[in-house]
């Protein structure tokens, strides 16, 4: 066993040094910045486009005393449901030829007016590309009702803020779990293509023969996987540090705005590291097994798309557990080895108790071992062409 570990260590040390000391590792460290920058840029553009195109605009063509009451009513409503959720109103003084004004406004491009409200508060009329049941029409109806109803004195509503209610806490913890799951997914997604190409260097340099003659293939697989894990943990430390700093800078409450996980922050973070390791080792072992079959970088590129889709599917399966960790689907996702780490991390955010995590980690470790052994065996069989010749059952039958 010691010899196996030592052999794996020799490979891991070489791979780690070759990865971390290369110039390209800087790009790896900067990797998360690109999707963040792109996401930020496209997100803000998208948000602007959405706010321009999706919020309906209604022109109010009424006498000034009416428009003032309508505007006040709208502001009251906006205070309750938010500006962004409410129809935008633009106000115009009525002209002599009201029909022509209405026609002109509906054809106007700036702002793009969807409907025109005319008449008076007592007899309003809404015209435009709109039905009676349209949410815009309903909002206008609410605004008009508020505008015509005299303000009634109402008893003041006393609000006592509490730290969390059971409803809000469950929701917030689910959000914490979801954030953890998404982070885990993206981290392993980035690493998958790197793992796929792990053996290409040895195969193209022909050094694989020297290694295969000196140490067990399993030890090489383990060494390579742990070297990548160590490199990615190094990256993770940089990313988490940078990310927390950024969140602290841009968010009002920083990381403290997230709900405290059911298992507590220290436990959650410790489990996050462990589940990241397990998630990486499980998916990495599968991808290394697949990638070991490839002989060229082109073959690896061809493989990377289905592999990414596979990861997205697993992520989708794992996300069914968010908010409902005890449903049969969630339990199935927790048992399925490849989705188990993500599911269990979300569970740590939502449910207290350590034993399920101890059992899950042992279960995942067992699968890492199984997959690695299978991968090494497959590599020896298909790449090194080793082992006794096995006949398919159809051939055996034919031979009989």
């Amino acid at each position: 066993m010691m010899r196996f570990i030592r052999s794996a260590f020799v490979i891991a040390r070489r791979d780690f040094a070759a990865t971390v000391l290369s110039k390209t590792f800087l790009f790896f460290l900067l990797g998360p910045l690109f999707p963040l920058l792109l996401g930020g840029a496209f997100g803000s553009i998208g948000a602007r486009v959405a706010s321009r195109t999706e919020r309906p605009v209604v022109a109010v063509v009424m006498p000034s005393n009416s428009t003032a009451r309508i505007a006040a009513a709208r502001e009251r409503l906006a205070g309750a449901i938010g500006q962004d959720a409410l129809v935008t109103l633009v106000y115009y003084a009525p002209q002599r030829d009201l029909a022509a004004q209405q026609k002109r406004l509906l054809a106007s491009g700036g702002p793009p007016i969807r409907a025109v409200l005319t008449g008076s508060l007592g007899n309003p009329h809404l015209a435009g590309d709109i039905g009676a049941d349209d949410p815009t029409a309903r909002q206008i109806d609410l605004i008009l009702r508020d505008a015509v109803t005299p303000s009634l004195p109402a008893p003041p509503l006393h609000v006592s803020p509490a730290d969390a209610s059971s409803g809000s806490l469950a929701k917030d913890r689910a959000l914490t779990g979801q954030i953890g799951q998404v982070a885990l997914f993206f981290l392993t997604l980035m690493l998958s293509t790197m793992v796929l190409s792990q053996l290409i260097e040895e195969k193209s340099n022909k050094i694989i023969e020297v290694i295969a003659a000196a140490i067990p293939i399993d030890a090489m697989f383990v060494g390579k996987l742990f070297a990548m894990l160590a490199a990615s943990v190094l990256g993770l430390v940089v990313w988490i540090g940078g990310g927390a700093f950024l969140i602290q800078l841009i968010s009002r409450g920083g990381v403290q705005t997230l709900a405290v996980p059911a298992i507590g922050w220290p436990g959650f973070l410790a489990l996050a590291v462990l589940y990241f390791g397990m998630n990486y080792l499980l998916l990495g072992a599968v991808f290394m097994t697949i990638g070991a079959q490839a002989s060229t970088a082109r073959e690896v590129q061809t493989m990377s798309m289905p592999v990414t889709f596979g990861q997205v599917l697993i992520f989708g399966f794992a996300s069914t557990a968010i908010g409902s960790p005890d449903t049969p689907e969630a339990l199935a996702a927790a048992i399925f080895p490849l989705s188990s780490p993500m599911v269990m991390l979300a569970r740590a955010a939502e449910q207290p108790g350590w034993w399920p995590h101890v059992a899950a980690l042992a279960w995942q470790a067992l699968w890492v071992t199984l997959i690695l052994r299978l991968g090494a065996r497959l590599f020896r069989k298909t790449v090194l062409k080793s082992g006794p010749r096995t006949r398919g059952w159809w051939r055996r039958k034919a031979a009989v």
Partner: protein, 316 residues
């Protein structure tokens, strides 16, 4: 019998090794025994199965059937720390320095990295490569890189050194140096197995050889035993074209220019000489040549296999 031989100083033995790749039988019932401390050659044309045999012996691949024992271990990887291997297709990490590459190969075989680096420095100095010790492999010439890999094969002072076509790609000077290195390792007690398709190297270096043809061992034994399978060749030039002396030479004798060439008859040179003199041959010259390994190879493996062999490695 081979198992018994293990206790009498056999470093490597194989019994009825078979390896099939799909429908192709690359190794077909190979049995051999390599005495400890000897230089042993696997001789055969390209595609004969030499590399596959070596890969099986080293545990890189498992045989379809048959057994092997390396330095007393039935699982070759258990003996890996005492084995050095230079594969036919040379390979090193291009970004690694020469010194690190040697130490890395040693580390794979259990040599501590620090000690590996120290030994690498000594070995590189001995081979006039000190100036290149801290240069990446990609900056080295092909011959230098090959030497570095060879030094990596030997850095952990293995008891068994396996070299697959070690002379391929080396110039004449480096071929000579490699032969010296092999002899020196053998003198220090290492067992050397190397494969080659160049008969001259095997003839100069090996005590024992296995001639491999079409995945089978056509011959296994000492080099002089292989030669001994052929009768000595007689080259005879006479003054008389014909006469009673003609009955003294075999009917299979052939003419090469003005010489008769034939195998020495069973009785040996004296009766032949007497019959020629008595028969009035008028001997001008009579030479008895010991057959070379090439002749033995032709006799054992056949002309077609011999045609694929070379008597000397083409130098770069």
């Amino acid at each position: 019998m081979l198992r018994q031989a293990q206790h009498q100083g056999i470093a490597v033995e194989a019994t009825d090794l078979v390896k099939e790749f799909g429908e192709t039988r690359a190794v077909d019932g190979v049995s051999l025994a390599v005495p400890a401390g000897s230089i042993y050659g696997l001789l055969g044309p390209n595609g004969a199965g030499k590399t596959t045999i070596l890969r099986i012996l080293l545990g890189i691949i498992d045989p379809s059937s048959g057994t092997r024992r390396v330095l007393g271990h039935e699982r070759p990887l258990e003996a890996a720390r005492e084995v050095g291997y230079l594969p036919e297709e040379r390979g090193l990490y291009p970004a690694m320095t020469a010194r690190e590459a040697i130490a890395f190969v040693g580390a794979l075989r259990g040599l501590p990295l620090r000690e590996g680096r120290q030994r690498a420095d000594v070995l590189l100095k001995q081979h006039n490569l000190s100036d290149w010790a801290r240069k990446p492999i990609r900056n080295l010439s092909k011959g230098m890189a090959q030497t570095v890999q060879l030094l990596g094969t030997m850095v952990h002072k293995p008891r068994l050194i396996v070299l697959d076509e070690p002379f391929a790609g080396l110039d004449a000077i480096n071929q000579g140096r490699l032969e010296d290195l092999i002899r020196s390792e053998a003198r220090e007690g290492a067992t050397i197995i190397f494969s080659t398709h160049v008969i001259a190297h095997a003839e100069r270096l090996c005590e024992r050889i296995a001639i491999i043809a079409k995945g089978k061992v056509a011959f296994e034994g000492r080099v002089d035993e292989a030669r001994g399978r052929l009768r000595p060749i007689v080259r005879l030039r006479t003054r008389a074209d014909d006469g009673p002396w003609r009955s003294a030479i075999p009917q299979s004798a052939r003419r090469e220019g003005d010489e008769w060439v034939f195998e020495l008859p069973e009785g040996g040179p004296e009766p032949l000489l007497k019959a020629l003199i008595d028969g009035g041959a008028g001997i001008e010259t009579l030479a008895i040549e010991r057959p070379g390994l090439h002749d033995a190879f032709v006799a054992i493996a056949g002309n077609s296999a011999a045609a694929e062999m070379t008597t000397a490695e083409p130098v770069e």
